[in-house]
């Protein structure tokens, strides 16, 4: 076992165990704590897979953003000292059904990939990433609409479109959400004045 697979085992175990702890703990903030460990270990797995950007985004968005907002919301709204959630048996059945379905999807998609003999394109792309460790520049370029990793292998007549359009759609969507939030949170003028 080399160092990398050792670290992978450690973080994968941490992810799974703390995800189980999220399910089995009853206090909301304790769940949030276990969720930090789970999401942090997931981002460590991303870092191990040389996906620096995804790992950092995972930390910034889910742990630094979403979870902080979650705990902040619990602090503002809870009536008692420690907010508890008790799951009814119906919810357990529903949850395990959804979980099992998700497991099936994951299993099917994992089986769909040829892990033993990957295609030559995958090998070249992966070896480039592993040799430099830099995934950000190709990622940024493809968000700007050019795919240097694909276009260098094809003959140049058919250029790959990149992800500029989805990126712009997401930006506009975020803008709409921001305006909506500002509209909802505005100081409302009373009707009678």
């Amino acid at each position: 076992m080399n160092g990398e697979s050792f670290l992978f085992t450690v973080f994968a175990l941490a992810t799974c165990l703390s995800a189980l702890a999220v399910v089995f703990s009853q206090t909301v903030v304790r769940m949030a704590f276990w969720l930090i460990i789970a999401l942090g270990s997931t981002s460590a797995l991303f870092f191990l897979a040389n996906a620096d950007f995804v790992g950092a985004a995972q930390l910034l968005i889910y742990v630094g953003g979403t979870l902080v907002l979650l705990v902040f919301g619990v602090m503002l709204t809870a009536s008692g000292p420690y907010l508890k959630i008790t799951t009814s048996s119906g919810e357990i059945v529903m949850g395990s059904c959804v979980g099992l379905l998700f497991l099936l999807v994951v299993f099917a998609s994992l089986n769909g990939v040829k892990w033993r003999d990957p295609s030559p394109e995958t090998i070249t792309a992966a070896s480039h990433v592993v040799s430099t460790g830099n995934t950000l520049r190709p990622l940024g370029l493809s968000l700007l609409g050019s795919r240097p990793d694909k276009d260098s292998t094809t003959d140049g007549d058919t250029l790959s479109p990149g992800y500029l359009l989805p990126f712009e759609i997401v930006s506009v969507h975020l803008l709409v959400v921001l305006i909506g939030a500002a509209y909802l949170a505005r100081a409302k003028r009373r009707a009678e004045c």
Binding site: G3, V29, F53, L59, G64, V71, T132, R137, S171, L178
Partner: protein
């Protein structure tokens, strides 16, 4: 060489020789000491500076001259203290909260370069990673506040959450302003580009980065919950805020984390705006870079190259420590704001200012190119863009990095910047 490893995979590939393991252990221990010893120095500094500002002496007795052993005496006292956990507290969360603060503050040093190529993980998006890691620290504070089972702590935690959620926005936008000038998120590359005379520092790159430095510093001070933004503690109203119920080592973990993150944000400021490990004097810089690359490729003495890196790390630490000193100075000079004033300062002033700076920084090179025919206001000294960059990537550490041809630093293409600005502003 170890520390120029570009990825974790490469790190383990060179794990073969024992000498590398020993070198790695020594450097890791040094890195831990940056985290563990710098708080001692900064706490002493805080006491002396506050003493001078309030017209008193500060510590004088312990350790003889200037009371320099005072922090160690405090450390021994804190280790001996009883580890208390209030009966109303959620003990598991209460006990683990200080570790989250500590781990977050310490992990930030993983991607912070101390000198040319002296970085534990030279990630391509180092700035993004370090901001992401520093944003985790707030969670420990909130959890400490929530789980203490005390209203003072709860108020402190809530204030901290509200403050951090708002201050992270201008922090990210302000640190993007020099990134526009640099065209890279790699902290090592950003530092290497500012080689040469101090006019090459990104602070003097254009008026927008100049203002952005001060806005960044204010926001970073708030981000470390330092006075005048220390609403989470606010000892005059909340007893001790989030750490009211803590004692002994767990209490001191919060403060080690606080001082370490102060050093980290000031280190980021010195790399983004103040030239990082560069002296700002072109002849000295060039000599240091020459010594480093000669040491790395074997044409010169490796020891001299190492020494040049130590000097670089010293310059970097001096700049960052000066930032910490200014934060201490501010703390004892300005009165604490109210929580509504803190949020107003951020949302009504700092966010619009940083958005304006971001927009201005994207437009500046375009305007300058059309008016003066070049994209920087000074004559580029010492072929800053081309030469500095190449050497940063290939000269140090012996790891030659193959990079795709990219947009030249000096010549910003208007089109790419417009797209970038649209995406990030929203």
């Amino acid at each position: 060489m170890m520390f120029a490893a570009q990825s974790i995979a490469e790190f383990f590939q060179v794990f073969g020789g024992w000498q590398y393991v020993i070198a790695a252990v020594i450097h890791a221990v040094l890195l831990v000491h940056v985290f563990a010893v710098s708080p001692f120095a900064f706490i002493w500094l805080e006491r002396k500076v506050s003493g001078r500002i309030q017209d008193r002496l500060g510590p004088t007795r312990v350790g003889g001259m200037f009371g320099w052993l005072q922090s160690l005496a405090d450390g021994i006292k804190l280790v001996q203290k009883e580890d208390l956990c209030p009966s109303a507290a959620d003990s598991m969360l209460f006990r683990s909260a200080p570790y989250i603060v500590c781990v977050a503050a310490f992990s930030a040093f993983m991607v912070l370069p101390f000198s040319d190529g002296w970085v534990a993980v030279a990630a391509d998006c180092g700035l993004f990673i370090i901001l992401a890691i520093l944003s985790l620290e707030v969670f420990g504070i909130i959890m400490a506040g929530y789980s203490s089972g005390s209203k003072w702590s709860l108020f402190g935690g809530m204030r901290e959450a509200a403050q951090m959620v708002s201050y992270e926005i201008p922090l990210a936008i302000c640190s993007l302003v020099p990134v526009i000038a640099a065209g890279s998120l790699n902290l090592g590359e950003i530092g290497g580009m500012q080689r040469g005379w101090f006019t090459n520092w990104f602070m003097f790159h254009d008026p927008f980065t100049f203002i952005a430095f001060f806005v960044y510093f204010v926001v970073a001070t708030a981000g470390c919950k330092r006075a005048p933004f220390d609403l989470a503690e606010a000892e005059s109203e909340l007893v001790g805020g989030f750490h009211t119920e803590y004692s002994g080592m767990r209490w001191s973990f919060f403060f080690m984390g606080e001082y370490a993150s102060m050093f980290a944000v000031c280190g980021i400021a010195s790399i983004l705006f103040l030239g990082g490990w560069n002296t700002g004097l072109a002849p000295i810089d060039n000599a240091l870079y020459a010594a480093r690359s000669a040491g790395a490729d074997g044409s010169g003495s490796a020891a001299v190259g190492y020494l040049a890196n130590v000097i670089g790390a010293g310059i970097f630490a001096a700049k960052a420590s000066f930032g910490v000193f200014v934060q201490v100075w501010l703390r004892w000079t300005l009165p604490r704001l109210r929580i509504d004033q803190v949020i107003t300062t951020c949302l009504k002033y700092l966010v619009p200012i940083s958005c304006f700076l971001f927009l201005g920084a994207t437009l500046w090179p375009i305007v300058l190119v059309s008016a003066m025919g070049r994209s920087t206001w000074t004559e580029p000294v010492g072929d800053r863009a081309a030469l500095g960059l190449q050497e940063t990537r290939q000269g140090n550490g012996g790891v030659a990095v193959t990079v795709e041809p990219r947009v030249d630093v000096g010549l910003v293409v208007p089109g790419s910047n417009e797209i970038e600005s649209e995406g990030v502003v929203q």
